[in-house]
Amino acid sequence: MGRVVTRRKLLLSVGAATLLAGCEKSPAVRFFLQTMDEWNQKMQAALFSPARLAPELPPSDATPEEAFPSYFISEEMPFPPANWSLKVGGLVAKPGLLSLDDLKRTPRTNLRVRHHCVEGWSAVAAWHGVQVSEIAKMAGLDPRVRFVEFKSFDSNYWSSWDLESALHPQTILAYGMNGHPLYPDHGAPLRLYSPVKLGYKSVKYLTEVNFLLNPTGGYWENQGYEWFAGV
């Protein structure tokens, strides 16, 4: 499991946290918090089991959809470009573009699971889509790939994941929610969804999936939120 996060990325993220906190932390305090964050992320990665599934919940547990929070970072609701497709790239044998129809022809995975937000709330919804592991299989990963980057058309919101969590059977590229196509407020036409990470790791309004050698941080991660963010 070893190097889940590079030291430089950590320095960047905790440094940013300090700046945003608006308080002057002494170098010793900063070093202490960095070291502990590094340790905690190692512990989280060690605790993560690729085979452990989030419990599937009955329809009666579902959160009323209007009560399921959603947000985007753009000024206005992001809408996909006219001929939207998903770009799959990085260290893969067959890089390329996938249309929504291509994705819908790929074996479908349905989940109804609890969502955990870093803010502390939880909510339940059903999600329908394609396993990231299926995309990886189709693309043919180079054995050196360790990380996966997800990019969006929401003002370049992005996140990067450890490969193990991305290949978890419940980590999917979702085109549907609660039995209907994904609505714009939840990331239409395609979003990443997984019950094994905090919500901010599940990038909405997807445009690109890249299989990489190194992590590339993320929108919130680079502002100081932890990178691993497993639940």
Partner: protein, 231 residues
């Protein structure tokens, strides 16, 4: 019951290892004072984290019995500046709080200190009731003096239980999927949040009562610094 209790005390006082022990042995004094900054920062950063979603119950189904729904904790009680900053503090210091607690409990068990500190229902229930009656002025004289009275033993034992439940419910919130069995023990993720906040309330209540009582008996503070007399 009474004779059993005094027999245990007699055994304890003839134990050669215990004869030279101070009222407050060094290990207990150290862990006591180390706890104070740790608990303050854990409580403050915990309340800062709670501020991001100052409610109990999942989205769309907040618990109606909780009277303070969506009310943020006061600013003076928070620590860490913002959500990510508070999370870094909380997850960094949690290790040291647990380490301090585990060392304390090992010492508590191995040294035999538990004999004069732990609330043993057979020995202490009567004394606790009498002491309570004395405090509410239903009894004119307090029960016969002992190392601790029954009520003290009850308070100091309860807070150990609160602390253990606090740590376990915290782990359940941190990793509700990887440690699903722990989350289940607390009634799920949102149940664990209730217990985690509830234990903070109980620990705070304990600290307030503790402060009032030691201020009324300042010798106890001195003993927690110097150790007090041997014997």
């Amino acid at each position: 019951m009474k004779t059993q209790g005094s027999k245990a005390m007699a055994d304890a006082s003839t134990d050669p290892r215990r004869r030279l022990r101070r009222v407050q042995p060094l290990a207990i004094r150290l862990s006591h004072w180390i706890n104070i900054p740790l608990l303050l920062i854990m409580a403050g950063s915990g309340l800062q984290i709670f501020t991001a979603y100052p409610a109990l119950g999942p989205r769309g189904a907040q618990y109606s019995w909780y009277p303070f729904q969506n009310m943020s904790p006061p600013r003076w009680a928070r620590f860490g500046g913002w959500l990510a900053g508070a999370r870094h503090w909380h997850f960094a210091l949690a290790w040291f709080l647990v380490l301090n607690g585990v060392i304390y409990l090992i010492y508590f068990a191995a040294s035999g200190e538990w004999r004069r500190r732990l609330f043993l229902p057979g020995r202490d229930t009567g004394g606790a009731i009498k002491m309570f009656a004395y405090y509410v002025r239903a009894l004119r004289t307090p029960p016969a003096p002992d190392f601790y009275n029954g009520l003290q033993r009850l308070a100091y034992t309860s807070v150990i239980v609160f602390a253990i439940v606090e740590v376990l419910s915290g782990l359940a919130i941190y990793k509700p999927i990887q440690l699903w069995w722990l989350a289940m023990l607390f009634g799920g993720y949102d149940g664990a949040r209730v217990i985690h906040l509830g234990m903070l309330a109980l620990i705070t209540l304990f600290v307030l009562m503790h402060l009032v009582l030691v201020l009324l008996h300042p010798r106890a503070i001195l003993e927690m610094i110097t150790g007090g007399q041997r014997g």
